[in-house]
Amino acid sequence: MPPDSPPAAVPAPRISAATSQPPPGVVALFFAFAKMSLAGFGGALAFARRGIVDEHRWMTADEFNETYALCHFLPGPNVVNLSVVFGARFRGVIGGIAAFAGLIGPPMVIVTIVGALYMRYGEIDALRRILTGVTCGAIGLLIAAVFRMMLPLLKRRDIAALAIMVLVFVAIGLVRLPLQLVLVAMIPISIAVTFMMRRGAT
């Protein structure tokens, strides 16, 4: 169980833990996701977990992990998928739209303003130097994320998965092939390999 499961304040059994709070309304969904999103520098996921599981107790940690796993394996921005699936679970399509609008709307306004300032003042020397430094930091963060995700594969000595990973890296990063082409070829291969490995393991 993840360490950030809800505190023991709710004595009810786990199954009913999620229903210990009334389901959020449409307006509550919008503001909850707006708040998580604006707090979420460098990705909103950690803040989504904190808001949904710890603060509002709209889901148990397990339910959150399950929903997140689903949204992670679907294509597209994971947190965006999560907001829609989560909102729709409580309030139907309108709830999904409200959560999505909260997640995307306010930060979109901010990033557009910053973008407009960049278009106008981007050539100023001091700003150029700052952005160069920030870019280094951002790439470093990405490399660290890759490293963290790779660790379980390295620990398991999962050669097949590592080989697929390297192949995708070379095809996209070095050869610069179109994404669709690479995925259409690699997804079936990866699924077949995973399926065979699991069958061999059991």
Partner: protein
């Protein structure tokens, strides 16, 4: 896909299609965004792309907002809105239907297998993202060292990512990088 047509439509087509192939989230689709925005459509230069990536990471909110900035640079506010919705709505609708379908067929083990098989693809794509942005940015030895330093700092500590970006910004401002 008419390159001379309305730029807003080409944003919608580009990101609407990309959305459905963005396995592993927005950060895994960075190489494809770069390929289309810089190499295919010539919407921006390499350096502008690296700058926009930095700005999107520095801003609050989901990583997908780099798409908002690409849209804005192509067609202003309309472009920002069109690109963002095109990147989010198709896959969000897909997620909605899949989650309803899965709620009814819980026992299948295929979701777990597909999920596990997509993990190496996501990691490979994100690693490619790091390379693509690094190549698009100004390439100096100091920048390379700062990038490696940031990666080690982020991997070895639980420091808030924002601090790492701000440290990078300060070093850049001081003229070290």
């Amino acid at each position: 896909m008419n390159p001379n047509g309305n730029p807003v439509w080409s944003l919608v087509l580009t990101f609407g299609l990309m959305s459905l192939f963005a396995v592993g989230g927005a950060n895994a689709a960075i190489p494809e965004m770069h390929r289309i925005a810089v190499d295919v459509r010539h919407w921006m230069t390499d350096r502008e792309f690296a700058d926009i990536y930095a700005i999107s990471q520095l801003s609050p909110g989901p990583n997908v907002l780099i798409v908002t900035l690409i849209g804005y640079s192509v067609a202003g506010i309309t472009g920002a809105l069109a690109a963002t919705l095109a990147m989010c709505v198709p896959t969000a609708a897909f997620a909605y239907f899949v989650s309803r379908w899965l709620a009814r067929s819980r026992r299948s083990r295929w979701p777990a297998i597909i999920q596990a098989s997509l993990v190496p693809l996501s990691i490979g794509l994100m690693a490619a993202s790091a390379l693509v942005v690094a190549e698009a940015a100004d390439r100096t030895w100091a920048a390379l060292l700062a990038t490696i330093g940031a990666a080690i700092l982020a991997a070895a500590t639980r420091l808030n990512p924002l601090w790492i970006l701000l440290i990078g910004g300060c070093l850049g401002f001081a003229g070290v990088i």
